[in-house]
Symmetry: C2
Subunit: 364 residues, 2 copies
């Protein structure tokens, strides 16, 4: 079992990564001082519930915890205020109190939704992440939780750190290949923004990762979580540094919104966005190798690198305007300066981004 | 103009109280470093909008702020996730960004709703309280914000402190008498929990307060806010001390829920609840004078002191079970030990509370 800590003072918490570690769930819950007197609520989605819920419930109950489950439909559309209300109903029916915890068992959708429920139920109760997707190595670390509004993604949310993250590689074995690829997109992002050697390693181990080789996967998730943890420790509330995690996300979020939530997976959308950022880097005078390497990597992992031509440029641009990364009219943009390094630019114009969007439509 | 500070380290903020001080709104906004570059969103309700919105918008616009308004229906039912979604729609349409602020212009309903919107929009933007009810001297201070769930009041919320509270006595002159009385109920509560001399003063100045005498009102709101500010400064997140502000609220919240939100005003419900707490004090061996004085005071202010007989005891008890003040099965209850002092008891049984509920039905 690999272990690392997200250093956030009194809000610090451990991340456990390993194969089969779900068996230790109650010991790890005890280490985090979760209460056996107060009921737990497990939030999961229909697909994950069918595969893994019984096991988790059984392990917890055998360990003396009172646990019930609230199951939401699978998919991005569950990140809604309506589902939040449903979770609160379940929490009240299960008799959760201030010492209770909400446990997210699922991917980023379940994590973000259950996390916002934990942040706001009784103005904040404890929260545990049991990620079941590769992408969730990213979403489960750092405390950003949110639901969507029909007009904008992740616009209603909070910062709410979990008590622990329990990442059992075995749970990932049931993942559809499309979600494997989409999840690896964020893993690669963590290399691109922080660690050139790891980017290289990803390139060399693409086949193993795509085949869900447990050791390769375990290592990749460990490094991915570590990069995220370091960045978040230095800037929990995204005042500056944390913005680098948004590489590829300005265009990515807009693409997700315009395609209709769920059409384009998050990891797919940001894959296109990262290729766009690399193109922009070229226009700002940085080496065109960045674009070549970035694009090559995503192609190798079977991820999309161009914008589906039916998505309208004006709609993409207008979706971006509602994005939270606009501060007082100026546009903040993350641009790679070499592989493993990025900078936060505040001088990018809408016009430049529109050109990139048009270029990305032609990308082959 | 009276001024006081809620001391919360880097989250400290000023409360301004006085007659006609709305005229200085832009100067006070400047002092709080609110941005003229980012749009403001004023949240208010239909009744307050008809009376005061134009003036506030005009003052802000003349002062160079970009301000638009979002108007919700008046009444407790607006503290809902549906209205939250509406505010977020308005915020997106008005182009709010991370440097924007949401301004609550109204009573506790608008303050709690707009405050939760500010806490969760973009995971938290700035927030200003312009209270227009007497009760809001309480709700506008301390940063508790929330919406209701059909099964429980204030169950979905956050802690989100405002940048400033601007309390113009002139805005209160349009208040219906019933809301005047209900608001004074929380003013009296602040005396009962903290300040015997102020309780005495309230008793002696009941006529002036009910007649909205500006100087008496200004003083009462100043002391009320001060008590609240002191308590909140010592325990922002209600780990212990802050619970004393809940005097009368265990029964009060249950009555509100069972009567149907809006039937019994918050101030009316807690007036009954405080009489109940005084009765409970008697059963714990404290002087029966507490009950006599408490009840006398609320009668003098024209507030209810008994539970409407059509409200079912079982339903009241079951509503209480969902209340957030239950921790790991134990019941936490605030009980007066003398006028101006309370204690937090953790040994109160459901049976004892049920007896009080029954007694309160007979109270004349
Ligand atoms: N909070 C953050 O910091 C952060 C960071 C990145 C992404 N996100 C969010 O994460 C979400 C995307 O996460 P995701 O890709 O995990 O999506 P997801 O949670 O929707 O999971 C993808 C699909 O895989 C299924 N699934 C999950 N685990 C499975 C398993 N073990 N076996 C089989 N199927 C499984 C799910 O039912 C779903 O259909 C987006 O909403 C995004 O905004 C949040
Ligand atoms: N956050 C907290 O710490 C806290 C504390 C106490 C109460 N509260 C909440 O406050 C709410 C009750 O507050 P409230 O009594 O102010 O209710 P409210 O906001 O509903 O106002 C009462 C009524 O008076 C009207 N009104 C407001 N200002 C007016 C004015 N100047 N002139 C004429 N009419 C006016 C409103 O339209 C409404 O109909 C409850 O929801 C309660 O839970 C919160
Ligand atoms: Zn992402
Ligand atoms: Zn109250």
């Amino acid at each position: 079992m690999r272990e690392l800590t997200v250093e956030l003072g009194e809000r610090s918490y451990p991340i456990y990564i390993g194969q089969g570690i779900l068996t230790n769930i109650t010991a790890l819950f005890d280490r985090a001082k979760l209460s056996r007197k107060s009921p737990l609520l497990i939030v999961t989605d229909e697909s994950v519930a069918a595969l893994h819920l019984e096991r988790v419930l059984t392990l917890l109950r055998e360990g003396g915890f009172a646990a019930t489950a609230c199951v939401v439909p699978a998919g991005e559309t569950s990140k809604s205020l309506a589902q939040l209300e449903g979770i609160v109903t379940a929490a009240l029916q299960a008799g959760l109190d201030r010492s209770s915890a909400i446990v997210a068992l699922g991917g980023g959708v379940v994590g973000d939704l259950a996390g916002f429920a934990a942040a706001s139920f009784m103005r904040g109760i404890r929260f545990v992440q049991i990620p079941t997707t590769i992408l969730a190595h990213d979403s489960s670390v750092g405390g950003k939780v949110a639901v969507n509004h029909p007009m904008a993604k992740n616009i209603i949310g909070a910062f709410h750190q979990p008590e622990l993250v329990l990442f059992d590689i075995d749970l990932l074995m049931t993942l559809p290949l499309r979600d494997v690829k989409a999840g690896l997109s964020e893993v690669i992002k963590h290399g691109l923004i922080w660690d050139a050697a790891f980017t290289q390693w990803c390139d060399e181990n693409a086949d193993k990762l795509l085949a869900l080789d447990p050791e390769a996967l375990s290592y990749a998730l460990y490094i991915g979580c570590q990069v995220k943890a370091i960045v978040v420790s230095q800037d929990e509330r995204e005042n500056d540094l944390r913005a680098i995690l948004n590489l590829g996300h300005t265009i990515g979020h807009a693409l997700e919104a315009v395609a209709g939530y769920g059409e384009l997976l998050h990891g797919e959308a940001i894959s296109i966005g990262m290729v766009g950022a690399a193109k922009l880097a070229q226009q700002f005078g940085y080496s065109e190798d960045i674009h070549t390497v970035t694009k090559g990597l995503f192609v190798k992992f079977g991820l999309p690198v161009s914008i589906p031509p039916h998505l309208d440029t004006d709609m993409i641009m207008s979706a971006m305007m509602h994005d939270k990364k606009f501060k007082e009219g100026t546009m903040v943009y993350i641009i790679p300066t070499e592989i493993g390094k990025v900078e936060i630019r505040k001088d990018v114009t809408t016009e430049q981004v529109r050109q990139i969007v048009d270029l990305l439509k032609g990308e082959k």
